[in-house]
């Protein structure tokens, strides 16, 4: 057993920290995380991350990477998270889609997309969810019909968060309409240029002010070489990618700045002549959060270790996802209790504490136990795949 990092990994972290402390401004971090849309600053930051050698450490050399362990990418995510960064600026391509292209894409597809992903130049948006296919994702209806050398695609996606700034849609659509086969066996994955004729993107505004989108397809023609891997295997590719995605998206470190802000607030705030840091109730809430953060980290360390060593993951990243997302809600709730009446103040309001971050996180945290799969579906997965309990 070994819970430490290698010397080279620690050196990488040190160089990275120096870079981030210099380059990662609040503006970039928020463009990164709040999904209002990655702006020019975050795009520029993304290219700088790459040109300074912080992107692509774990990617194969032939596609512009360094061929090292995924541990380096996890270190990158951790250090971004500690600084409100939460993920790399163009993270759907880098932490989700790219891995599937690497595993399942044709050589032509890999050569076209991977070097650009590794250089931090392009972004994808996930096109999975539909109005009637949420937790039951395999029920999707979007139709892709082969005609000559293209697929003609029609239908609607929803909650496609990066659609208004991504260059490419990572689209799942039905390619087998036989009602006698299981519905997950007729789905394929495509890479679609977002500027293809027939695509309409409409904003959906979330309660925390982030933008997500509905995406409509009307006779959109997608070349056949943009089919990812084999036809009708898309759902399997989505599922085989899901564990790694959870490992890369639900990083406990992104909760650290919230906790640290609250600790600082408690240290610096007095009520009735007494420091909040000495209030047993405040101590209890923050200590509980710090304990849970320690536990969240070992969950993450465990599932990352599995991924880094090619050990098949079945339910472990699901545990991390569940824990981190629910912990986020508990942490934010603790924060709201500590701020009391002030917790209701929004950013830019007179008297707002901590720049309104806790209030924003309160609104945002409703999403974490829903996005990328609800906690309830997650618990089904843990029970069925982790513990072998029978399906209904």
């Amino acid at each position: 057993m070994d819970f430490g990092y290698k010397r080279e990994e620690e050196e990488f972290r040190k160089r990275l920290c120096a870079f981030l402390d210099q380059e990662l401004t609040e503006k970039i971090a928020r463009q990164n995380w709040e999904d209002k849309g990655v702006g020019p600053e975050a795009r520029e930051f993304s290219r700088k991350l790459a040109s300074n050698g912080f992107l692509g450490m774990s990617w194969p050399k032939e596609y512009g990477g360094q061929g090292l362990s995924p541990t380096y990418d996890f270190i990158l995510l951790d250090e971004l998270g500690k600084r409100w960064g939460a993920h790399v600026p163009l993270d759907v391509g880098y932490t989700m889609v790219g891995h599937t292209i690497l595993r399942r894409g044709s050589e032509e597809m890999k050569k076209e997309f991977l070097p650009k992903i590794v250089r931090g130049e392009i972004e994808f948006c996930l096109g999975y969810t539909e109005p009637n296919a949420g937790s039951d994702l395999a029920a999707m209806k979007m139709r892709a019909i082969e005609e000559g050398d293209v697929f003609i695609i029609n239908g609607q996606k929803t909650f496609n968060t990066e659609a208004h700034y991504a260059e490419y849609h990572w689209l799942a659509a039905r390619t087998d309409f036989n009602l006698n086969i299981p519905k997950h066996k007729g789905i394929s994955l495509f890479i679609v240029d977002m500027d293809s004729p027939g695509i309409t993107v409409r904003p959906l505004w979330t309660m925390s002010g982030e933008r997500t989108n509905e995406v409509f397809y009307e006779d959109v023609r997608v070349p056949k070489n943009r089919l990812v891997g084999e036809k009708n295997k898309g759902f399997y590719y989505m599922m085989e990618a899901i564990d790694s995605e959870r490992n890369h998206v639900f990083t406990p470190c992104r909760l650290m700045p919230i906790l640290n802000d609250l600790i600082r607030y408690a240290q610096e705030t007095e009520f009735n002549g007494k420091s909040l840091a000495l209030d047993p109730r405040v101590q209890d809430l923050l200590a509980q959060a710090a304990i849970e953060l320690e536990v969240a980290q070992v969950f993450a360390e465990h599932s990352r270790w599995m991924e880094s060593n090619g050990i098949p993951m079945t339910y472990e990243p699901e545990v991390t996802k569940n824990f981190v997302s629910e912990m986020e809600q508990r942490l934010v709730n603790a924060g709201m209790q500590i701020l009391g009446l002030y917790s209701q103040l929004e950013e830019h309001s007179k008297w707002v504490p901590l720049k309104g971050r806790i209030e924003w996180y309160f609104l945002h945290s409703f999403m974490t136990t829903i996005g990328a799969g609800t906690s309830e579906v997650g618990r089904n997965v843990i029970a069925q795949r982790g513990l072998g309990l029978p399906r209904a």
Partner: protein
Amino acid sequence: MDFKFSDEQKMLQESARSFLKTECSKTFVREMEKDEKGYSPELWSKMADLGWMGIIFPESYGGIGGDFLDLIILLEEMGRACLPGPFFSTVVLGGLTILEAGKESQKKELLSKIAGGELILTLALTEPSTTQYDPYWITVKAQLDRNDYLIEGIKLFVPDAHVADYLICAARTKGELNSKSGITLFLVEAKRPGIKWEPLKTVARDKQCEVAFKKVKVPQENILGRLDEGAAQIEKIIQKAALAKCAEMIGGAQFVLDMCVSYAKEREQFGRPIGTFQAVQHHCANMLIDLEGGRYITYKAGWMLSKEIACTMQIAAAKAWVSEAYKRVAILGHQIMAGTGYMEEHDMPLYSRRAKGAEFAFGDANYYKKIVAKEIGL
């Protein structure tokens, strides 16, 4: 990063599990709950033959030179089996304290005997005057009387005192009641005149005792560590004991989860196994999350401890988490086992009763949250 056990550790885990499966049946566990001694000397000597009592002591003291993770692996199996007896008291509370604080001669003499299964030890630390756990609240006095100390006062919740050969007693040699300075550890032969013990009736039916010291004469050379500076040693002992207790608890929690999962697969209601119901599945998933979080944080702290990396935070997090987690696992276990698990003869109560006892041993979640609060700068 590496979460794998070494081959030797895997062997230790497997051999301990199979040994305890045959030697420590639930029938035996129940017998020992009623037994006056609470352990079987025959099993005790078999455990010694396996090298268990010396697992964490250096070879130069008759041990096998394992590290804290090896001890954790063994304790996890003991928790799984509900092993009764004074292993924890002897090896963790007694042996590790001597290893930490003892003089070379004390280590040479006592540790090899512990490793050989010839001695039973325990730690007499907590007292009646505090209900909240506070290992530094020491009122038991030790006063110098020519070349000897006279110990006077009452210790409470002293595990296995009734069978111990030696008690390590924390007594006040100086200072205020709740002061960290002025505490000294004494190695006291349990049969010294003036010592009276009485077992308490506890929820886990483990053998915790009241120990009354009445002018118990202890020679000066029996001081463990430095005069008046025992608090620093107590802090280290409590940390190790708390983490060791976590290991026992996750072993127990794993047994409960395994038992519930196999029951949920077999037990049918409404014409199908109850394990197909999402309500039951989610209970099981929650148990797994609680358990695995506890396990990894325990391993991590154990690894840090064995590497001598500062880990006050991780140990506090482990005991705070596992104390609550095992309790929740036991509660959900009862919910899944329902009526049958409420029966005295069922295995479930063996675990839920121990979960409750262990929750408070060496500090509960509230105690450790105070430590964490300090660690994060509050």
